[in-house]
Symmetry: C2
Subunit: 666 residues, 2 copies
């Protein structure tokens, strides 16, 4: 017995397709004998069909393909495209790389696992091309084993500052490759302590092994880089990107690193952010910093992913002119076009920090001459710590579908990050992952839907939230139609329910400082983080219009005009952009205050309904899964009640306006 | 050079009294040759007079005294009384114990250190009898070296779970004996980890040595006891005070402990409090728990000090009936008279927890048949962390002077804890100490005035705050009249200034949770600690009258009637007892809201004035002392500004009532 679940790669017995003749023979393109990825693909196929259907297929090799993933820009997509078609008594897979073969295999296994009819599914042939070149997980794992914002146990990469490579490492690679992930950053973006020594002899051997394992599943290894390495491990007194000594140190270091870790694909850098060092310290631009490194790693095919999470985290709460929401755009737009072609700017989905509802970052659709990657967070930092159920794919779908008006057509976020809009060399999606060494990987078993879903969505942004959720449930919990329906009924509305019982109308941030779990309406109101609701006895919200901080004008028209107007702004974001009286009428016809009361009472009630739905599943699904989620629902309801009562009490006490429906407010 | 200051026992050169003939010969009562305390007294006298005046006095021994401190009840006071009178060419000390001789010696040295004329001071003879039998410091030192609520470095008693005995240990004993302390609890009341093993072989040798050192300065050694020792170190499965196995274990244990630590005077116990185990766990009363232990330690002359800090720390903030303020009285009054005569109940000065302003606990003046000790806190947990200057002696004076109406006369708190009111066997004052291994012992040099002052006040509750502060300044900083005047001008109003810029009108608690430093108006409002201000858009305060929680009625009349009435209740406590509209007129003529604005603006301004006063002292006092306090004033002003602005903004935003004076509110 493994001490962790294999989730959707468990390959337990399935009923459908047992008699499918096409599954008896699978034809693959020929690969080099030494191709690990192809070998893994074949093994996976055999294990999956054996486990689920007790079928031992004949494997037939056909035409030759490139054995290594192609890593230069658009060709990632070319190389990862695959086709599956039925042939007489068999299935044919066409693909240009062994990674693509792997994805085709997982496609077939998914079809079987979901008990969909193989012959119907592939009757007309199926060709799939990934939506995004890079589909990446960012681990915020620290080398002491802790995980920043981790809610699923400790790291499975590190114990006591050592890298651990074992069976779980390989199964992790299988697990994420099976949903289409092709890149992983294995250490926290806040690089400190032992992690600063990642790029030294101390860890090269292990990293090289890890990179090999990942490569066998089409996954590129990235490291988070300490921007101040020249000082912290290099013995220099500067990290100035224009300093010759600094540049020279990095040249030697990168030559060493790429030699010692041949599979290394590049680095993720958080600089000048929340106390981390960066080029600003030396009066240089973000582009100076990113380009210096990009210039050096280019000859090794390396990529520099540079995070745009740069803002003043020492704001005075009295200051109403500075606006954290503006910071990303203000800091990065002026240098659009200055970044080297192997630099990618990684942009959080919203301008703040993974709140349950934010407008899309105006950098997406702002930047036109810069490689861009969208960063989302499946670690539920502000969305319930994997205690509360919060299926985030509907949110990601909204973000991807957001029309930025940055060009005549192909102007959605999905278009931009796919590389289509601006014909970008590198682009894609990254998620701060929700994994840890818990038995079920994600703390709450249902949080697995976010891990599964992120990968699937990044691979194919055309999939719907429902489709993804249904796949997850069928592959990991049950094929029973009632069970599937009930769990979809829990997952699909869960994000909006979480939103309803927490922070209303896009205002965000009313959380316990530091932990970010649980309600504290004023928790950040008088603090230095730029995160304020500005509520007084008359109204609430932040004026980010042309009369306020001007943030709304960072968007392209017509978005700018819509957000700038309290009448046109969508309800769900109205307090993000406007300071409004409690008596202001929303599009819904409700006043702001009544919306606050209604949504909180409803959200709490709906959370109770979700829990009750889950309780109905007792005996119908695996006991361990049932109990895991049930126990978390218990905590979710305590949390939801506190949010409901605290938020309502706070605003009733402040506004003095009673609930129209006369419900209990404390 | 020692790596710590000797503060008021430094004995630096003095100018006055250099020609005083009386200091050439000091006559003492005869003591036994082996009497360590007498030996220490003589050595101290010689060192002090040599250091301050370059005088080497002749020491003449007279009549015999009891060599050991007498520990049974009232006789502590008898034994510690001393008289000092002038004789021809000398001074005569009369005393019934060597501790009393020591106190007389420190009296003379204090007179010299303050440059008061010896011949005038003692012209008519001076007889001093301590006000309180027990004058105790409670260390919240943990054995890992940390100090709970410690703001002066680490523990000087413990390093890495070992007891350290060195020169500083002895100098600590000198330091506190010199101000009249005669009892010390050396470990945190929250007994856990290694501290649970204090009563085992592991620490007996060191504790025995420590007890000897303390005894040499008239100081009784106490330990905090883990009530659950039977379980944690005894291997039993119960701590039920009526369980025969439990009783039998304690009998054996206490026999061992008192044998191995012969100087041990007894134990302090925090039971059934904030998660600590206690008799309630077994359905027993607090008296059951205390008496069981007291019964056993009695034959060794031991005392059990039982803390009354018992309340429900899992309150629901929605619950307006439960009142933490009531808990001490509700839990301890019903058993008044049931406690053994070697039990002392240790009662925090207020019913909550060391806020800057609380009413006096109604247990003081409630309990009539129980030994009582007043607990105050000189560790500035809620009063500025020894960053903000907050001279607490004026507060302690108010508490001691509080008329409880528990008897016809002698009904003040000072009377009760002296033992006079109810002719108690054991009683006195304890302070949670503010010491640590910082060079100056108390973090902020001026916080030394609280350590000095607590001892002096506990020894003589008749001393005034001014007198004590002046002694401290003269003995440790300067004899310069301007300097003395300026520092008194800083110390004396500092508590009321701290009160003004923090929480108004007795409401308390608007602090950052966990750290207790800095403002967070709603920090505890929706939490489980029973600490609420109940502010809404119309008013603020907790109704503790007969129409509310009834707490006010726990007092004797006329106090109960006064507190119960919003008209009669003193302004400074009015929000502790009443929920009042912001427009309610105080005795001062101001409305509640205007009082909030005024006091906060004034408090911040006054804090700036204190800092400016201190700046004037540059060059006039020791540089290190100057810089230590200056740096803390810098931080105090940041703190005071945040309090002022956050509290004013919070209540302006909530009430919508503008400041009459139109000052800037954010």
């Amino acid at each position: 017995m493994k001490n962790y679940a294999e989730l959707w790669t468990a390959y337990k017995e399935r009923k459908s397709n047992r008699d499918c003749r096409n599954l008896r023979k699978i034809c693959l393109p020929e690969t080099e004998a030494s191709d690990k990825t192809a070998e893994n693909a074949v093994n996976e196929l055999k294990a999956g069909l054996k486990g689920m259907l007790d079928i031992e297929p004949e494997i037939v090799f056909g035409s030759k393909v490139t054995s290594k993933p192609v890593t230069d820009g658009k060709s990632i997509l070319d190389s990862e495209e695959y086709s599956i078609s039925l042939i007489e008594d068999g299935i044919n897979i066409a693909a240009k790389s062994s990674s693509a073969i792997l994805y085709a295999v997982f496609d077939i296994l998914r079809t079987v696992a979901c008990e969909k009819d193989i012959t119907k599914t592939y009757a007309d042939g199926k060709t799939v091309r990934p939506s995004n070149p890079l589909r990446m997980l960012n681990h915020w794992d620290n080398m002491d084993g802790s995980i920043e914002r981790g809610y699923s146990g400790e790291s499975f990469f590190y114990v006591n500052n050592e890298i651990v490579i074992d069976e779980r490492t390989r199964d992790y690679a299988r697990l994420i490759a099976s949903v289409g992930i092709n890149a992983v950053v294995i250490n926290n973006v806040n690089v400190k302590q032992a992690a600063s020594y990642m790029i030294t002899d101390r860890y090269f051997d292990k990293l090289s092994q890890l990179g090999e394992i990942f490569a066998g599943y089409g996954i590129r290894l990235f490291l988070s880089l300490n921007y101040a390495s020249t000082i912290e491990i290099g013995g220099l007194d500067s990290a100035d990107p224009l300093d010759e000594n600094v540049i020279s140190w990095w040249k030697d270091k990168m030559a060493e690193v790429f030699k010692k870790i041949p599979t290394l694909a590049g680095f993720l850098v958080k600089a000048d952010s929340e106390g981390r060092p960066g080029p600003f310290t030396y009066g240089r631009t973000q582009a100076d910093g990113a380009n210096m490194l990009a210039n050096i790693v280019k000859e090794y095919g390396g990529i520099i992913i540079w995070r745009c999470f740069v803002y003043n985290c020492r704001q005075d709460w009295r200051d109403r002119k500075t606006d954290r929401a503006r910071a990303g755009y203000d800091n990065f737009m002026p240098m659009d076009g200055d970044y080297h072609d192997n630099v990618i700017l990684q942009i959080k989905n919203g301008p703040m920090d993974f709140q349950i509802r934010e407008p899309v970052s105006p950098l997406l659709g702002g930047l036109k001459k810069t490689n861009q990657m969208l960063e989302v967070q499946i670690a539920q930092e502000y969305t319930g710590h994997q205690i509360d159920v919060c299926y985030l794919i509907p949110e990601f779908k909204e973000i991807l579908g957001f029309k930025t008006y940055c060009s005549e057509d192909k102007d959605s976020v999905a278009d931009i990050i796919s590389g289509d809009t601006f014909n970008s060399r590198y682009s894609g999606m990254a998620a701060v992952t929700n994994t840890g060494n818990d038995f079920n990987w994600t703390g709450n078993y249902l949080a697995g839907a976010n891990l599964y879903g992120f990968g699937r969505l990044a691979f194919d942004t055309g999939l719907s939230s429902e489709q993804i959720a249904e796949e997850f449930v069928r592959m990991t919990i049950s094929q029973d139609e009632t069970v599937v329906k009930e769990i979809l009924g829990i997952l699909l509305p869960s994000r909006e329910i979480y939103e309803r019982y927490t922070s209303p109308l896009g205002i965000g941030w009313m959380v316990q400082p530091a932990t970010h779990y649980g309600c504290s309406v004023d928790g950040y109101e008088y603090d230095r983080w730029g995160t304020y609701h500005r509520a007084d006895h008359l109204g609430i919200g932040v004026d980010r219009t042309d009369k306020g901080t001007g943030y709304a004008l960072q968007y392209n028209e017509p978005n700018a005009g819509i957000y700038n107007s309290p009448e046109k702004c969508p309800d769900e974001l109205v307090l993000f952009f406007h300071h409004l009286p409690y008596t202001h009428k929303l599009h819904s016809g409700k006043t702001v205050i009544q919306h606050i009361y209604d949504s909180h009472f409803e959200g709490y009630e709906e959370a109770q309904q979700l829990a009750a739905k889950w309780d109905q599943l007792k005996g119908k699904i695996d006991d361990e899964v049932f109990e895991n989620v049930r126990e978390r629902f218990e905590r979710q309801l305590i949390n939801a009640r506190e949010w409901c009562d605290q938020v309502n009490s706070y605003f009733f006490r402040k506004s003095g306006i009673p609930d129209e429906k006369g419900r209990q407010i404390w």
